[in-house]
Amino acid sequence: MTDATTNSRIDTAPGEASFGDYVALLKPRVMSLVVFTALVGLLVAPGGVSPMIGFTAILFIALGAGASGALNMWYDADIDAVMRRTAKRPVPAGKVTAGEALSLGMWLSALSVVMLGLATNWFAAGLLAFTIFFYLVVYTMWLKRLTPWNIVIGGAAGSFPPMIGWAAVTGDVTLASVLMFGLIFMWTPPHFWALALFLKSDYNNAGVPMLTVTHGRAETRRQVFIYTVLLVPVALGLAFTPIAGPVYLAAAVVLNAIFLKGAWDIWQRDEAMAEADDYAVEKRVFKFSLLYLFLHFGALLLDAIWRLI
């Protein structure tokens, strides 16, 4: 019997991973959300850009997000290895070395920032550079392992794409783009804590100070509700900016009512109730939260099309 058969992790020689493994370093699923929100930010911004410049801007915003994903996988390889959800990522699985992830992340970061600056403007490029810095240094290196509020502040990194898309067109930041940022920022904590409630062993094993671990599950349920309440005025406030219209207002009213009801249900439950139905409510709210964000930005897009007609 060889070592390879006794150990489930089979290391690949440096530089010998498949192309798909390198793509996986860029977290393509997270990138899809970045592409969509950045695209909406770009399309609803006043002025507009040529399709080629718009396409290039979205592509390099997405690549910048992917680069920060690779840098995150480089730094968090030890945590990823002990979490079931992340153990199959290329670095903990031994397909790509941590050094390769670091190298790819750094090069793609530089490329995406420079190309976004050349394609649009240097303010948007600066925002993208700050986003990568924030995700890697502030969230991954500093907050994630230090405080249970990691999700709250770290969520800012995922909130920047629509603001960057907007800045790529206008070269500035306005109330509308700040509220698009705020929508994702306030949405992130209830979204992730709903996930943490039914993936408890994963975060416990990794020693990541998730709120469920440090403050208990009852407190996490309460915080899900509090942050959802705080999210509502941001989501509704966006309806009264020039970029939103009747479609967004109608969508925001309905979606926030449903999300609020879901967060309330989570708060009213205890662990015994949750375990009895295998965290059905928490899983439902988590899935709905994905739809919630998608539909808010989708509604902004529909309103922009509505104005064009």
Partner: protein
């Protein structure tokens, strides 16, 4: 004795290398296409472009008020 099969049969490693090389080539081609397309888009929206030809000309003079 050298194993002849190693020279004729495609190993999983070779398939992986081929995939990586094709992927890299497509990325580079895509990047070239983007830079080309971006250049065209920038030139089209740039209006009148006038580089310095090292010769004094009227368009280089500062715009002044009409003194009539």
């Amino acid at each position: 004795m050298v194993d002849a099969k190693g020279l004729t049969e495609t190993h999983e490693l070779h398939r992986r290398r081929l995939g990586r090389n094709v992927g890299t080539a497509l990325c580079l081609l895509g990047f070239c296409a983007i830079v080309f397309g971006l250049t065209i888009a920038k030139v089209r929206e740039g209006g009148l472009l006038e580089a310095d030809d090292h010769v004094p000309r009227a368009s280089m003079l500062p715009i002044t008020e009409d003194t009539q």
